[in-house]
């Protein structure tokens, strides 16, 4: 083991006994990172593009042999990303004002608050206390939301597996080496000091020291110190990070923060909708009820009115009939009287003669 690659002292037994806890880091609260977590520093000024890290990674993780062997450096001519068969790849960049090409190693950055762990709906990812982000295929449904969520385009999927496809990504050799107190495979294999492993705090100190000691050699930024809330894989470079296809606009907000706000509204919806809808329902019911009552009332009124009118008409009719009858009687009496009078006159006239 190269002494210089391994900052600080890590007792094999001590590290092995650090058990992984579940992804507390996936929550919405601010998380400072596990205090004793490890990190790797990648120094692009040291990397020579030999692909030994790729070879070591392939061996440690028992991945399939690639089509072209690891000592075939022509592979570097095309830009690659991580795949289900390559947890780490090195890309070559021709930077305008530099004579030699610059290399950048790509692998999982082991976010302090991982987007993948936050996005996974079965909690298949774990941010371990050692710093590594691990994956448990025994619960994975294969929805691939972690791949959508990852800001670094890291998780890959076994599209060719029919029944048991897994998400494949660097685990910092957590199971195979880290918990045994060994260096991650790639760090161990690096022939230069392009990869240095240690406690994150110490790795950061080393990086800062390098930037201070060689201000002309390095860009004055440690990539991963704050990006996406901080990562356990850190980068320093002699060329701007954008020229190495690294996204410098990620900001320092940890991924879980982007969705925690929306998720916090859920209890509000559950609490408020029934109240609001219940209120609207009550109003519409009452409206219906009042409309119904008014309808009934108006029917009753109409009936009453009709009855009243009928009664009045009947009365008038009765009165009129009474009047008519009286008139008839009076007429008849009058006529009878007149007749009687006439008869009497006749009788008188006859006796006079």
């Amino acid at each position: 083991m190269h002494r210089r690659k391994f900052l600080g002292l890590m007792g094999a037994a001590g590290a092995g006994s650090v058990a992984a806890s579940t992804a507390r880091a996936a929550g919405g609260k601010h998380f400072e990172g596990y205090p004793d977590s490890f990190a790797v520093l990648f120094d692009s000024t040291e990397c020579i593009g030999c692909r030994e890290c790729e070879r070591a990674c392939n061996e440690v993780n028992n991945l399939d042999q690639p089509e072209r062997p690891f000592d075939d450096l022509s592979v570097l001519e095309t830009k690659r990303r991580t795949t289900s068969n390559a947890y780490t790849v090195v890309n070559k960049y021709d930077v305008p004002d530099q004579s030699a090409p610059v290399y950048r190693k790509i692998q999982c950055n082991h976010c302090m608050e991982p987007a993948c762990a936050s996005a996974c709906f079965v909690g298949a990812f774990t941010k371990t206390e050692l710093g590594a982000v691990t994956y448990d295929p025994s619960v994975c449904v294969g929805c691939r939301y972690c791949m959508i969520a990852c800001p670094f385009h890291i998780p890959a999927y076994e599209y060719d597996k029919v029944l048991e496809p897994r998400i494949m990504k660097c685990t910092m050799c957590y199971e195979t080496r880290l918990i045994k107190g060994e260096l991650p495979g790639c760090v161990d294999a690096c022939p230069k000091e392009a990869l240095v492993f240690g406690k994150r705090e110490q790795v950061l100190q080393l990086a800062r020291r390098k930037l201070q000691t060689y201000p002309d050699r390095y860009e004055q930024h440690i990539y991963g110190e704050t990006e996406m809330g901080g990562t356990n894989w850190l980068y320093i470079s002699g060329t701007p990070f954008e020229s190495l296809d690294m996204n410098t606009e990620l900001g320092d907000t940890p991924a879980p923060k982007f969705t925690s706000g929306a998720l916090k509204l859920v209890p509000g919806v559950v609490a408020l909708w029934p109240l609001l809808l219940g209120g609207i329902y009550a109003v519409s019911r009452r409206k219906d009820k009042i409309a119904e009552q008014e309808r009934q009332q108006s029917v009753e009124d109409a009936v009453a009115e009709t009855k009243e009118q009928a009664r009045k008409e009947l009365e008038e009719f009765k009165e009129k009939a009474e009047r008519d009858r009286k008139k008839e009687v009076d007429k008849a009496v009058k006529k009878a009287k007149e007749e009687l009078e006439a008869e009497r006159k006749d009788e008188q006239g006859g006796s006079d003669e």
Partner: protein, 390 residues
């Protein structure tokens, strides 16, 4: 087409049966292919595009276009707009089938579909927006099945079971609104986690609100579209109440859609202003954004408004179809165009023919199931023995 002709095609083998039969047969082949060869050979999905056409269309559009269920039941049972009662059953049927097909499509898309209950049974990732979506979609599908069971119970003459469902209809409706609010918005919130991958014009803290409000539009429009199609092809199954009430539903929903769409366009403009994204409008993505927002949201809002004011149901039908296309365009833009917009041209995803094939199969399955239910069960007409529908 006269009523008699359509009446005959219901019982005899016609072109509908032959075409759908062929598509279903083809779907069976694709199913076998999916579960023997895997996603790799079948799709153009890759590590940069883990979600393709099936998530874009079958899931995002499928769920949005099935929003008619909660919109119509809420209008009828909660807001007490009884004139929309005739639209409830067709809308609930469409919604139930829509969600059922979303789940069926997902079994093709996820790696190990038999593990779909894992988030609830084995280990829950409660920090995930997808967990919320999965939970709500699952409960809402059960809710829709419960709502629709009333129709099935009438069909099977199970009066006791039917009256039990009828007593719980208000509860089911409120539950449906809550669940729909949550998962319709959360489908948009899925993309909140990846601001670095999304084009700023489509990425906004308001994206859950956009998805929810546009889902209401989708629900209203789909009810109009679907009732118009039913009136055209299943008219012999419609009773007099449905015939008479049709115009009311189209005009009422059209008017509502005009308002909601206008609100949606305003919200989108507000989102642009909040994030100060105006400068992006001058780019190619900006042109696409404007075509979507003005051509497929503002324009139908205007047409809906004219149609409602002048009582022109024909105009409203066209606006409804147009805004359905708008929703589809929006969901595809969010999930496939705005997503990974920074990738260089050659790296972009376009669905493979088998992906299109499966989507066509899923949609056809929906049509066949709808037709099966609507021609046999009291969906477009009242059951003669159960006329006290509310």
């Amino acid at each position: 087409m006269s009523d008699q002709e359509t009446g005959k095609s219901g019982s005899r083998i016609g072109p509908f049966h032959i075409i759908t039969g062929l598509i279903l047969l083809f779907g069976a082949f694709l199913t076998v292919y999916r579960f023997t060869q895997g996603l790799g050979p079948m799709t153009n999905l890759n590590n940069e595009y883990p979600w393709g056409l099936w998530i874009s269309f079958d899931l995002l559009c499928g769920v949005a276009l099935a929003a008619g269920g909660f919109v119509t039941t809420a209008a009828c049972y909660i807001f007490g707009l009884k004139k929309y009662h005739i639209a409830v059953r067709p809308a609930v049927l469409t919604a139930m089938l829509g969600y059922l097909l979303v789940v069926i499509a997902l079994t093709y898309d996820v790696g190990r579909p038999w593990r779909l209950p894992y988030p609830f049974l084995v280990q829950s990732g409660t920090t995930s927006v997808l967990f919320e979506v999965a939970l709500c979609v699952m409960i809402y599908l059960l809710t829709l099945i419960a709502e629709y069971s009333q129709v099935a119970f009438e069909w099977m003459r199970m009066s006791v079971a039917r009256s039990l469902v009828m007593k719980s209809i208000l509860f089911l409706t409120v539950l449906g609104v809550i669940l729909s609010t949550m998962h319709q918005s959360s489908l948009g919130a899925l993309y909140l986690i990846a601001p670095s991958k999304m084009h700023p014009l489509w990425y906004s803290a308001y994206i859950p609100v956009y998805f929810f409000v546009s889902a209401i539009v989708a629900g209203l429009s789909m009810v109009i579209v679907e009732m118009s199609l039913a009136r055209r092809f299943l008219r012999h199954k419609m009773d007099e109440a449905h015939e008479r009430g049709y115009d009311d539903v189209v005009l009422g929903f059209g008017k509502a859609a005009a308002f909601v769409l206008a609100g949606y366009v305003s919200l989108k403009l507000l989102g642009l202003a909040v994030d100060n994204d105006w400068s992006y409008l001058m780019t190619g993505f900006g042109a696409l954004f404007l075509v979507e927002l003005l051509g497929f949201f503002a324009l139908p809002a205007y047409i809906f408004a004219i149609g409602a004011r002048e009582r022109r149901t024909g105009l409203i039908k066209w606006a409804a179809g147009w805004s359905v296309l708008g929703i589809v365009l929006n969901r595809i833009n969010v999930s496939l165009v705005a997503y990974n917009w920074k990738l260089t041209v050659g790296e972009h995803y376009f669905p493979g023919w088998m992906e299109f094939g499966l989507t066509i199969f899923i949609v056809t399955l929906g049509l066949v199931l709808y037709r099966y239910c609507a021609t046999r069960m009291p969906v477009l007409h009242e059951h003669p023995e159960y006329t006290d529908t509310h």
